[in-house]
Structures are given as C-alpha cells and as structure tokens.
C-alpha cells in the first residue's frame, strides 16, 4: 500500500516529467508532419513545467518563484504555437503539403 503515498515524494514527479519529456522527444523524431512535431514539442514543455513545479513545491524556499517560471513557460509556449502554426499555414498554402519529407527546397 506504499503506492498510495507516492504523491508526497519529489522523485515521483521528476520521473514522471522525464517520461513526458522523452515521449515528446520520441514524437519529435518520428513524426512526419510539422503539426505533429509541434504537438510533440508541447509535450516536452509540459514535462519541463512539471519539473519546475515539483522543485518549487518540495525544495524552493519561496514557492512562488517556480509558479512564475511555469507561467512564463506557458506564455512562451503560446507564442511558439502561434508563430509555428502560422508558418505551417503559410507553408501549406505555398507547397500544398505539411509533410516534412516534401519540404526539401533548401536541401543541398
């Protein structure tokens, strides 16, 4: 029944954040469309945010610093999503595809 108390330990959250981060890396490497890669990048940001919040709850002297950090990560993620998706839409209008394999104009 020791499993019922794992939410009181820092390492649970760290391992879980690492899991989300590596799922994001796997998605980023194997996805073939730009939108899929963007979704995987959001997954990685979620893992990083969990790490910040866990350190904030268990270790930091002032628990508002980590929350402010996570808030800024969210704002950057929103800006990244807006710019990335507008680039995707512009690329689609020009090439009629969002497949990363077909976008080879700059390939040497």
């Amino acid at each position: 029944m020791a499993l019922l108390t794992i939410h009181n330990y820092l390492t649970t959250y760290l391992v879980f954040g690492a899991m989300l981060f590596s799922l994001g890396i796997y998605g980023l490497v194997t996805r073939r469309t730009l939108i899929g890669m963007l979704i995987a990048a959001e997954l990685m940001l979620a893992g990083v945010s969990i790490n910040f919040m866990a350190f904030n709850r268990f270790l930091a002297p002032d628990p508002s610093i980590g929350q402010i950090f996570t808030l800024f990560i969210m704002a950057i993620a929103a800006a990244e999503a807006a710019i990335g998706l507008s680039i995707v839409v512009a690329v689609y209008r020009h090439y009629k595809t969002v497949d990363a394999e077909d976008l080879v104009n700059l390939k040497g």
Partner: protein
C-alpha cells in the same frame, strides 16, 4: 526524507493516493497517444487528455492557480489553435502513412529511452537539499513578485507575446490581397 504514514485505503488520504495513481495512468496514456497516433486529430485529443492530467498534478503540487492557468492556456487556447491549423493545413486524403525512414522509429525510441533512463537515474540518485520555506506561494505573493522583483520579465513577456501575435498575422496572411 522522513517517513510518511501509509493511509487506510478508504480514508481521504487513501482516496487521494488512488486518484493520483489513476491520474498518472491517464496522463501517460494521453501523452502516448499524442506521440504515436497516426491521425493528427487523435494526437490532438491525446494531448488534451495529457494537459488536463498535468493540471491535476499541479493541484497535487499545492498550486490550484497554475492548474487553472494550465487548463485555460494549454487546453483552451493552444490546443484549439492547433485544431484550427489541422483543419486548415492537413488534408487527410493526401496523407502518407508510416515513418519517413526505416530506422527513425527504433533509433528515436532508443534515444528517448536513453534520455528517460539517464534523467530518471539522476532524479533517483541525487540527494536533493531541502530548504525551509520562507513564504506560502499564494496567488497574492505571485502577483506581488510579478509586479516587483520580476516586473522587467513581465514587461518583456508581454512584448514577446505582442510581437508573436503580429508576426503570426503577418506570416499567415501573406499572399492574400
């Protein structure tokens, strides 16, 4: 770390533990769907589940404010924007299936597993130093910090967001008369 009493299964603490375990499973399943689903709209549904679960984690980490922000910004704004991009720019009929390269699947899995193993080992082996709390971390304190210590960062992030909005409009609008 000091020992924590194991609660009864049907007490309030025990129920919290059960909810936490269910949340881990649901969040991981959502993340797995988001990383591997063949159709993009399913990946989007997966990441919505995953973000909602992460908001639950923020509740367990003593921060209901960040949980609300997570739902509001990630689920309410970013995922909706991605769904619009999928509707505008990902035609299902021209979809190619399968990985781009024979090796990208196994190598990607190996890289991800290596990184996960390294980070998990680091988290489990390190003796983290614990400091005494000097503040509570309430929403009021966050607001005071944002307008005093971090006011410069706060202004900069507003400018970054403004430039991102203008840039997104300019880029996505190009080619139209």
């Amino acid at each position: 770390m000091n020992a924590i009493q194991v609660p009864e299964l049907l007490s309030a603490d025990g129920m919290a533990g059960i909810i936490f375990l269910i949340m881990i499973a649901v969040t991981l399943a959502g993340g797995f769907i988001a990383a591997t689903a063949e159709r993009l709209i399913r990946a989007l549904a997966g990441i919505v589940i995953c973000f909602t679960g992460v908001a639950g984690f923020y509740y367990f980490l003593n921060s209901p404010f960040m949980a609300m922000m997570q739902i509001l910004i990630y689920v309410g704004a970013i995922c909706i924007t991605i769904s619009f991009a999928i509707m505008l720019a990902a035609p299902e009929e021209k979809r190619k299936v399968g990985p781009t390269n024979m090796l990208s699947g196994p190598i990607g899995f190996m890289v991800a597993a290596l990184i996960f193993g390294a980070m998990a080992a680091l988290a489990l082996r390190t003796q983290w130093p614990v400091f005494a709390k000097t503040a509570g971390g309430s929403v009021r304190e966050i607001g005071i910090h944002l307008l005093t210590t971090y006011s410069m960062v706060f202004e900069l992030i507003s400018i970054v967001l403004l430039i991102a909005i203008i840039g997104a409009i300019v880029i996505a609008r190009g080619g139209r008369t």
